[in-house]
Symmetry: C2
Subunit: 451 residues, 2 copies
């Protein structure tokens, strides 16, 4: 290492990247954190934006603001396209290069459609704030469209909401959808009855929440059913088209489909040229570095970090793994600079939990299994506690208290392009191919004729 | 009138339309309120969304929710394209028709570019939530772009913010921009100094806030100057292009231009076929009905309602005029149904006010003129009081208290398409014509490579 100050480049401002940066706060390095968004997102609560409880600003905070007091950290709004491991530089999509002495890759995961990328436009996943507001928009528009629709079959399909994937995100989305339809929207429509809406949760495996204990899967299922969610287990989605989902041979009319069935690591993992697993995650050494490249660390959802059982599955893509591995990578950089040996990463499982609607949840903390109201309280306090920023904690508590007491949702806004030539068309649902053609069909009109 | 229940169609869910609907709550009519958005927007606070203090959900509420307890009211999400006054029906953009016995037109105003509609894409106005989040996006992106820009001239243009129009919206925007640049963003950037940003307010007339007393115009000017805003009076914008504004012969390098220079009535006013004034506002009778059409009322910004001075200007396009005229139209419908004579509309001026930055304002209430902190307190209480919905009042108070105490802004999110190939390009600013071509240049990519 030369005498100039070493530069650490961190790619990604999620849990992993941000905690890596913080672990380097007092180190004699220059940190550059690169993200394509200007905000850190508290992803565990993103489904609450999609389901109209929270506003985007409640669960996101500018990365610059989080790091403003860390004098050695710099933030760059840019997208990383490649890593030149020979020259030790990341390549931005503008073509610019940023040199590094150490690199921490924390680029996270993307939705995975298992070779059916055409499903993405019809069945969005839930990864970014824009995904969340888009899901919220489609969900709320469906009721408006149903209110105006005369054809009973289309009306029924408009009020059918399908969530694909029974992991935590799918369970949380399905529970919240059922609750809005059956409680929040009642009495607001004159022709349709929102409580007649059907929420269907489709899971390929034999049980929901497969990473949890079996008893909790069963409890989650029962709690969802009490909310009116229909659950199909051992069911594979074989097709998604505008207005319908195919499950095996069966065709279900549904204009709203949310994808929560799988994620893959960011393509940046493969771009590294090192060994990746089936999900594209980079296989890392016990110190979280990449084999043959002690100067490159991979953390969070992008890394395949060996789990506690030899030969067992790698650690799951949850916030705690990202936080702890990000921090560990930062610390190992500090140790290297000090000439100390690196530490093996050890994950401390603090438990995992998922909410089911308004006051229910399941939680698994070590050997303790909780469900129902007590699990929900635990979930609530843990999430408030880990939310970054005092202001957001207050805001989220207030929104939750409000929606708990009143059954109302604070953020039921349909934003984005709303040009009501025909509400169905607004959903991108006027017929096959409508989504792709919409831009061309409807030139931008900005005048409000009915405000 | 036949024996069936008369149907009142209200076009627009702003202040005018909503108050007309409420005035009909106990009348023996069926009310259908049509709006192209699902929410009622508290427009006086929209600039606070554009300047990152409030979230959209803080100042908007679903119209259905507002009217949920009004059993005779129905809400239709649609855009009205025309009025068939012969057949007594409004025509939706889907081609569908909605018959009425009484019609209340409350479709409001749109931005007016005085024949330069090509300026709209470069210099957006502030009418909808999407306008506000777009202005916020461009404003925040400009600092990110400047941080990465090497050319000092472009950097200077990126940090130059021009507000065109010195009415209340222009004054409020300019004050808030100056405050964010000079206080909120300090210490967050490493290369650029946000407090070097230049905020320029351009007004065509000889003074700001021309509808207020002269002494208040002068105080507003002084308060803005204290915040660091440069004010050019008697200055006409002669050209707006990507990266520059022309004022007379002078060219000012600026990538961020906000249009607050003028509004015109919704085109629906002209579509009525009745007499309109220069701004497209429908000239109404003293009872707010359209000459020759006692069954059609026009209220709010869309109406040219005679002011207190004979031959003087019509009432201004402010919230109070919309609220009071909407209510009066509703009451006149009730009186007509009861066989009572209609009432002449009389406007009660409750005063007007504008904020200037964080703790300053000007207010004119009858003959009382206030400025500075006391005016700001008045502004604050009036706005909290008139904000619809208890939940929003609490939320807005909290956000204001927070940003007052910390200088921080709660909603500094850059949302919408962010594909950082080049930050300049993201602003739609890579060169002339970039805005129009962007869609074609950058196909949609959804994978996050840096989260």
């Amino acid at each position: 290492m030369s005498k100039r100050i070493p530069r650490v480049v961190i790619v990604g401002g999620g849990f992993g990247g941000l905690h890596a940066a913080r672990a380097l706060a007092h180190a004699p390095v220059e940190v550059t954190l690169i993200d394509r968004h200007n905000y850190h997102l508290f992803q565990p609560l993103l489904y609450q934006v999609a389901t109209a409880t929270l506003s985007p600003a409640n669960i996101a905070r500018p990365i610059r603001q989080v790091l403003r007091r860390q004098a050695n950290a710099d933030v760059l709004l840019a997208e990383v396209e490649a890593v030149d491991t020979e020259a030790r530089a990341v390549v931005l999509d503008s073509g610019e290069r940023v040199d590094y002495d150490f690199l921490v890759l924390a680029a996270g995961a993307v939705d995975q459609y298992f070779g059916h990328s055409q499903w993405e436009a019809i069945a969005p996943g839930l990864k970014t704030i824009d995904d969340a507001t888009e899901i919220r928009r489609r969900f709320l528009l469906a009721f408006e469209a149903a209110e105006q629709e005369d054809d009973p079959e289309i009306r029924r399909a408009l009020l059918t909401f399908v969530v694909v994937g029974g992991g935590p995100t799918g369970v949380e989305m399905a529970g919240a959808f059922a609750e809005i339809a059956h409680h929040t929207l009642t009495h607001e429509f004159r022709r349709v009855n929102p409580s007649a809406a059907r929420v269907l949760l489709i899971e390929g495996g034999p049980r929901l929440l497969s990473t949890y204990a079996e008893v909790l899967s069963e409890r989650a299922k029962r709690q969802l059913e009490e909310l009116g969610v229909q659950i199909w287990l051992d069911s594979r989605v074989t097709g998604i088209e505008v207005g319908a989902v195919r499950v095996g041979e069966e065709r279900i009319g549904a204009y709203n489909v949310v994808w929560a069935a799988g994620v893959a690591a960011s393509p940046l993992g493969r771009a590294l040229g090192s060994a990746v697993d089936r999900m594209g995650r980079v296989q890392v050494e016990p110190d979280l570095s990449v084999p043959g490249h002690p100067e490159i660390f991979v953390v969070g959802d992008l890394a395949a970090i060996a789990g506690p059982e030899a030969g067992g599955p790698p650690l799951p893509g949850v916030a705690q793994v990202a936080i702890q591995s990000g921090r560990a990578a930062g610390r190992n950089i500090v140790r290297t600079l000090r000439g100390q040996p690196r530490e093996r990463f050890r994950y401390h499982d603090k438990g995992s939990m998922a909410t089911i609607g308004r006051a229910r949840a399941i939680a698994q903390i070590g050997r303790v299994q909780l469900s129902g109201f007590i699990a929900w309280l635990t979930w609530l306090f843990v999430h408030i506690f880990f939310l970054i920023g005092y202001r957001n904690r207050l805001a989220v508590m207030r929104e939750w208290a409000w929606s708990y007491l009143t059954w109302q949702r604070g953020a039921r806004l349909i934003t984005g392009e709303v040009r009501p030539a025909n509400v169905l068309r607004r959903l991108g649902l006027a017929g096959a191919g409508a989504t792709a053609e919409r831009g061309a069909e409807e030139p931008e009109r900005k005048e409000a004729t009915a405000r």
